[in-house]
Structure formats: structure tokens, C-alpha cells
């Protein structure tokens, strides 16, 4: 069957941007192979008829609504497997993110389906969907073709653009799910806890970002000093590794499970440039990287790369910018 099923994540009554991108992408590709795009949502009472049917504006024709615990993958696997059994979808599509990976992989196991993750592009070919995925640190593109009844496509974060259409209201169908015993053996104690100060990095024109190469939490001062030398609409951001280590607040995190930024200038200090980080900042207009490892992947996508010790370079750069501003 040429229909595509997408999973749409929500939190506090709002849908996730990457999930909406998956709906847009699913709708566009399904049309090319003569099918429709459906969406599945799972949660509590905040999933109102109105909210669910609004997914029609992104191209979904039908929304399956299941009642169950939010924020965990395994209940969604049960619900998607049920929807696919009922409707015979040919593809399941995810917009990336942590839950998308877990649900897509678990669904592949449940339905004996092929799965491709980190997909950056989907296209129709002879009435089927084909997925492209960068591999080997993005140095090669691999093309996935599916066998069997179901193909699972997990997008890379920000790979699918959100496209809203005029009108479009989706039919809402309640799914009655009998959850697997193991799906109910994990329970959410606390969801979406913010740790550290609330900072705004998404609106900044200049971002100075720090990674593990800073060496210790105290060295974020070097990044903060440089940011304040630039003045104006400037902020300091961080990688996941240092946020998880407690060096910097979660609100400042860029990448896979953090924020996506596109400032005029992105200055990366002590960041190696893992894919999970790259997906959150690669649209920045100008990327400058300082790293002591000449082989760091970040140099492959920076516009200006400095191989050297940031402890020496950052303080002098801060002074030089201050002088330049003062003159």
C-alpha cells in the first residue's frame, strides 16, 4: 500500500516541529506514489479533536489518536503496529529526534521491516519510496531501497521542511490499543525538566559555542568574555556533552535534542563537530572553528578553521575585538 504513517510528538499541547516536517514530507511523497499521509498521536486529554485535525494543514488526511503515556517509545510502537495492521501502510516516517529513532527501530523489529536512520532525502522511484542517508561522517551518501510490506524511514533532524497548506482538516480516528506488557513496564516520573538558567540562543546574531575542548566548566568564561566583546545580540551556546556534564544550562544546547540555530556568525570553541551537533548549526551563515585537533570533523564544514590552543587564542581574540569595537 502506498500510504505513509507518521508519528507526531507533542508536549504541553503543541506539536513538535520535526514531526510536522515529517507530516509535510510524508504527504508530498505519498502523493507521488498514489497514497495518503496519516499521522499518529499518543497522549492524554490535551490531544483535542481540534488540535489533532489541525494536522490536516500539513497534509495529513487522517489522524489516529491513542490514549496512553507520553514521551515513551514503546507504547507508540504498539499503536503504530495496530494502525499499520488495520490500514496496511507501506511506509512509516519519522522526523528524527530521540523518540523517532526508538520507535522506528522497535517498529522494524515488530513488523520485520527494513529501517534507515539519519535520512536527509526521500524520493519516489517506480512507485516506491527510496531514502538517502549520509554515512561515514557525511563523506558518502547511501541509498536505501526496501523489500517487504513496510519500509521505515527515520529522518535526520531538520531534514524535512514544514510546509503548511491552505485549508486541510484531517479526520480524527480513535485507536483502541491493548498495550504490550513490556510497554507498560517503563513509566515517566518527570518529563521535560529544565536544568540551569533559561537563555535564548535562537535569536542571537552571534553565537560563541563551547564544547568539551574547553576542558572544564570554568573555561566557559572565555566564551562568555568573547561573546560580550562582540556586544549586541550575542549569546553563548554549548554542546550536548558539556550540558550533560553539567557545565552549562540545557537551554543553551545545540543539536539533536537541543536547539537549532542559524546565526550570522557561529564561533565554535573546542567543539569536534559530531553529526548530532552539526545538524543543529550547519545553516549558520559563517562558521568559525577553533580546535587543537587538526583532524576534527568541524573543520570540514567551517568557513574559517583555526588549529590551535583556545586557551591562548580566545583571550587575545577577545581583546582584539574589544579594541576594534573601541576604535
Amino acid at each position: 500500500m502506498p500510504d505513509v504513517l507518521t508519528y507526531v510528538l507533542h508536549f504541553e499541547g503543541a506539536f513538535n516541529k520535526n514531526s510536522l516536517g515529517a507530516v509535510s514530507e510524508g504527504a508530498a511523497r505519498a502523493e507521488e506514489i498514489g497514497g495518503q499521509c496519516h499521522a499518529l498521536v499518543l497522549g492524554g486529554d490535551d490531544l483535542t479533536d481540534e488540535l489533532c485535525s489541525s494536522l490536516g494543514a500539513y497534509g495529513a488526511t487522517k489522524v489516529f489518536r491513542a490514549r496512553g503515556p507520553e514521551g515513551l517509545a514503546q507504547p507508540v510502537i504498539d499503536a503504530m503496529a495496530k494502525a499499520i495492521d488495520d490500514q496496511g501502510h507501506g511506509y512509516a516516517l519519522f522526523g528524527g529526534g530521540l523518540l523517532g529513532f526508538e520507535i522506528g527501530a522497535g517498529l522494524a523489529a515488530r513488523k520485520q521491516a527494513g529501517v534507515t536512520m539519519e535520512v536527509t532525502s526521500v524520493r519516489a522511484e517506480d512507485g516506491k519510496l527510496v531514502a538517502e542517508r549520509p554515512i561515514l561522517q557525511d563523506s558518502q551518501i547511501s541509498v536505501s531501497r526496501y523489500r517487504g510490506d513496510l519500509g521505515i524511514i527515520i529522518g535526520r533532524i531538520n531534514a524535512f521542511e514544514v510546509v503548511s497548506r491552505d485549508g486541510g482538516s484531517a479526520e480524527v480516528v480513535d485507536l483502541d490499543i491493548e498495550y504490550s506488557s513490556w510497554s507498560t513496564q517503563a513509566s515517566m516520573v518527570q518529563r521535560g525538566e529544565q536544568r540551569g538558567a533559561d537563555v535564548d540562543i535562537e535569536g542571537a546574531d552571534v553565537l560563541v559555542a563551547g564544547g568539551r575542548g574547553l576542558g572544564q566548566a570554568e573555561n566557559f568564561k572565555l566564551a562568555e568574555d568573547l561573546a560580550s566583546a562582540f556586544g549586541g545580540n550575542t549569546a553563548v551556546a554549548a554542546t550536548r556533552a558539556v550540558v550533560d556534564a553539567g557545565w552549562y544550562p540545557y537551554a543553551a544546547q545545540i543539536g539533536q535534542t537541543g536547539k537549532t540555530v542559524a546565526p550570522k556568525l557561529y564561533l565554535a570553541a573546542g567543539i569536534s563537530g559530531a553529526i548530532q551537533h552539526k545538524v543543529g548549526m550547519q545553516s549558520s551563515e559563517n562558521i568559525v572553528a577553533i580546535n587543537k585537533d587538526a583532524n576534527a570533523p568541524i573543520f570540514e564544514f567551517s568557513d574559517l578553521g583555526i588549529v590551535g590552543d583556545l586557551n591562548k587564542i580566545l583571550p587575545k581574540l577577545t581583546e582584539a575585538i574589544k579594541d576594534r569595537k573601541g576604535s
Binding site: F11, N16, G71, L72, A73, Q74, G97, L98, F101, E102, I103, G104, A105, G106, A108, A109, Q112, G114, V115, T116, M117, P134, L136, S139, Q140, I141, V143, S144, R145, Y146, R147, G151, W182, S183, Q185, A186, M188, V189, Q190, G192, E193, Q194, F230, R240, V243, D244, Y250, T257, I275, V288, F299, E300, L304, G305, I306, K312, I313, K316, I321, R324
Partner: protein
Amino acid sequence: MKICVLVKEVPDAAVEKRIDPSTGRMDRSGEKNLNPYDTHAIEAAMQIREGGSVQVDEIVAVTMGPESAVRALHKSVSLGADRSLHLTDPALAGSDVAATGYALSKALEKEQPDLVLLGQQSDDGECYTIGAVVADHLKMPSLTQVIKMDVDGGSLRCERQAEYGYDTVQVELPAVISVGDAINEPRYPSLKAIMGAKKKPLETVSTGEVGIESGLVGEEGSRVQCGDFHDPPAKAPGQIIEDEDTNETVEKIVAWLDERKLI
């Protein structure tokens, strides 16, 4: 409690990785090492044992791969595993993620662990997904990217970063948990442990011995075929400055920023 840690042999990070054009698979020849992310999973198992809140009877390293994969098992044992299980069979070659997860789950069924631990991703395939595949086959609850884990009676209290902040999740055992690299700092093996690693029990099993259906693994059993490898669109390489004289370097950076009106 019995803990199984899934480990994998990957090409050494310093070796350039490539696709073998004749087979369309990753060229896995050359220097190999234990996937660095897996060392965090072994360390997590060791910390549960040493933490004392639950008695850990055994830590077993489990891998699937060709003969050379025993080196990853020896490394795992030197880091603290008590013994290892090696699933190896020519029939497994070419297995995709779903087939690999299925095969590993059959090997794990033989061990009946209370907890399966693994690293957040492999250094070569960049997959974050194998834990979820294994968990569904084993019918166990599962969580990935866990950065804090406490044993609490018959369950685990896990923390991880998800889309909207930090989540705390209570997971009943038995369970499959993939740990993030922020969970711990893996220890270095002692010389004695390295020397003794080859003497620890290592069992080798084939697909038939753990009840793997041959139609569900290998190239035939894989539902996704990868091919048409090609280069991504070329991006103009950026300018690189090697810092020798820092004052000069800083001047160059400022000039570069100035040119683009970024100051």
C-alpha cells in the same frame, strides 16, 4: 543480577573508513578496536556491581561478528566483564540493523539476563537503534541515551535528555538500556587485567545453536538494501589557519570577520 553488555568491534577511529564498492558493505578490514561508546556500558555495569545496592553475579560481554571480533571481547573482559559470548556465523554477514538486533536477541535469550546494557551508538555505523530492536524481540522495556541510572529494588531509575528537557523514567527489570557517553568516565584496564583477559571463559556459538532462523538474517533476511553510494554535493573547503604566532592568528581572524562585516 546478571548483566549482559552488548559490544562491537569497529574500525579504529584513526583509520579512514570506506565502502567496499564490490560488496556495497563497509570495508571492515584494517585496524579494529572495541567501539569506544561500549566502554561506557561496561563501566556502567561495573559501577552497579561496585555500588553494592544489588548483588551482580555476572557481567557477560556479548558480540556478533567475524572471528576478529574476539579482540573486542578480550578488551571488554579486561575492562571488567567476567566472561564473553561470541555469536559468529558466515550466515550473518550482510545483516541490516533489524536482522542484527534479532540475531543478538536470540543470543541474549540463551543468557537470560536481568539487564542488557549497550553504548549509545557504534563508532562506524552511527546507529542509535540496536537497543530498541533487541528490546522488542526480548519483550523488555527499553530506554536509550541514559545518562544517570540508579538501581532501585527490581527497577531502574533512569535520566536522559529528550526533546523537551530532562526526563526521569522508572524502568522495571529485566530491561534493555543504552547509555550515553556522559554517564561515566570509563576506567583504563590494568596491565594484569589485559594479560588475564584471554584466560577468561569465551564461548562461541553459531546461528543454529541459539535458534536463529536463517531466513531472517544475512543479506537475504535483511529488508533494506543499501547501494548507489555517491559523494554528497561538494562544499567549498574553508580556510585553515595553523596557530603558530597567536598575535598574527588573531589579526587574521579579525580581518576575516571584518571583511564579512561581522564585528
